[in-house]
């Protein structure tokens, strides 16, 4: 292991510990690391936007003679008028272009993905108890969100089954969330463990 790597990993370990100090209470070490990462992230992002987006999509298109791209480029520059009180209306054209196309392409696919496919996947043959339960649970959970009819009498039972189904869904979500969050912590512990080993190996030659 090279000395340079040990130093870099040492910095990473130090910053990791800085963040962990927040568990006790907010402190200057945590604040320092938090602000540093905000700056580094913004700097990295700026250079990524410049090298991989401006160069690829703005410079390259112009350099290769795709002059039609001058239209989105001008609309994009129009976005920058957002900061001027006098000229900010120009940015509305750019936003309108973005919003118009985005919403237009979204409506058919939303309809297909979130409605049609979900309905067709719920209309399934009653060949097993699970299939029957899928239909009952989906309908009951949907009914729970239906407020045009009072949830009384038989509707109350349907609504109750609906909320129980939703609670199972939220419980399952929480169970998996614990696993996800612990995984993030474990990764940091594994990093620190590996760093201690690296240092020990370096000192031991």
């Amino acid at each position: 292991m090279e000395f340079e790597t040990i130093i870099w990993h040492g910095l990473a370990a130090f910053l990791t510990l800085c963040i962990f100090t927040f568990l006790y209470k907010d402190n200057p070490f945590y604040k320092f690391a938090e602000r540093l990462v905000a700056g580094v992230a913004a700097g990295y992002w700026t250079m990524l936007v410049f090298h991989k987006l401006f160069v690829d999509k703005v410079y390259h298109t112009m350099a290769t003679g795709q002059y039609a791209y001058i239209i989105p480029i001008l609309l994009g520059i129009g976005m920058w008028t957002r900061f001027s009180k006098k000229h900010s209306w120009i940015s509305r054209y750019s936003i309108a272009f973005y919003i118009g196309i985005s919403t237009g392409v979204s409506i058919p696919v939303y309809m297909y993905t979130y409605i049609f496919r979900q309905i067709s996947a719920t209309i399934i043959p009653f060949t097993s108890i699970s299939n029957v339960l899928v239909v009952i649970f989906v309908l009951c959970a949907l009914f729970y969100f239906f407020f045009s009819k009072a949830h009384t009498g038989a509707f109350n039972i349907v609504s109750k089954i609906g909320i129980y189904t939703l609670m199972i869904g939220f419980g399952a979500g929480f169970g998996l969330t614990v696993m996800g969050r612990v995984a993030l912590l474990v990764q940091r512990i594994l990093f620190l463990k590996d760093y201690v080993r690296e240092v020990a190996a370096f000192i031991g030659g």
Binding site: G43, M47, S94, I115, M167
Partner: protein
């Protein structure tokens, strides 16, 4: 007029993109491909706005003695990434910028999120009490899901089946009901935008 034309523009482009979905042809695909690509180009310029906005607020903080140090830390992080990333190759592995990315940005971001492991444990301890039927269902489901990671011998096998069933039937049904609701809401919002009913994205005069 400064508001009306963008609204007509959203309507026109939105309708064209919806109609395009139902007309599969080479010309329609061409229109679709370039409309999307132009949206990306317009969007690239919007990204620069975010960076400018951040820098402006941090430079203002430099004047405040209480905020000065942490604003300077952020700006230091920002400019160090700018100077080390002046060439496109600097974004690739092995460069100084990449080393900073790997040993500052990755550990801090990963550790900030790993703190959630502690909070989720504390939240589970405080909130998961069987106070009502609904809370008990939530608690039991989360308990069963979490217990799948424990080696409990023959109970584990039964638990695995239980978890698979919970995730595939009631959890799936609950999430489907929510998704259909979200989908309908999203479609309604898109239609409102195209018809010019929802126009908050245009901002105020």
């Amino acid at each position: 007029m400064r508001k009306q034309i963008p609204i007509y523009f959203v309507f026109g482009s939105g309708i064209i993109m919806i109609v395009q979905y139902f007309i599969p042809s080479e010309e329609s695909d061409w229109l679709f491909t370039y409309a999307n690509d132009w949206v990306i180009v317009v969007g690239i310029f919007a990204l620069a706005l975010g960076i400018w906005s951040l820098l402006r607020s941090e430079f203002r903080k430099l004047k405040d003695p209480k905020e000065r140090f942490y604003a300077a830390v952020l700006l230091f992080g920002f400019f160090i990434m700018i100077f080390t990333g002046l060439k496109a190759e600097n974004l690739e592995a092995g460069s100084l910028m990449f080393d900073i990315f790997e040993n500052v940005l990755i550990p801090i971001q990963a550790t900030i999120f790993s703190l959630l492991a502690f909070y989720v444990a504390s939240a589970a301890y405080r909130a998961f009490r069987a106070r009502t039927v609904l809370a008990t269902i939530l608690l039991l489901t989360a308990f069963i899901i979490m217990a799948r990671l424990l080696p409990l011998g023959p109970i584990s096998e039964v638990n695995q089946y239980g978890v698979a069933w919970i995730l595939a039937i009631p959890n799936m049904a609950a999430k489907r009901a929510i998704t259909m609701g979200v989908g309908l809401g999203a479609i309604a919002t898109c239609i409102k935008i195209i018809l010019g009913i929802e126009r908050t994205y245009l901002g105020h005069d």
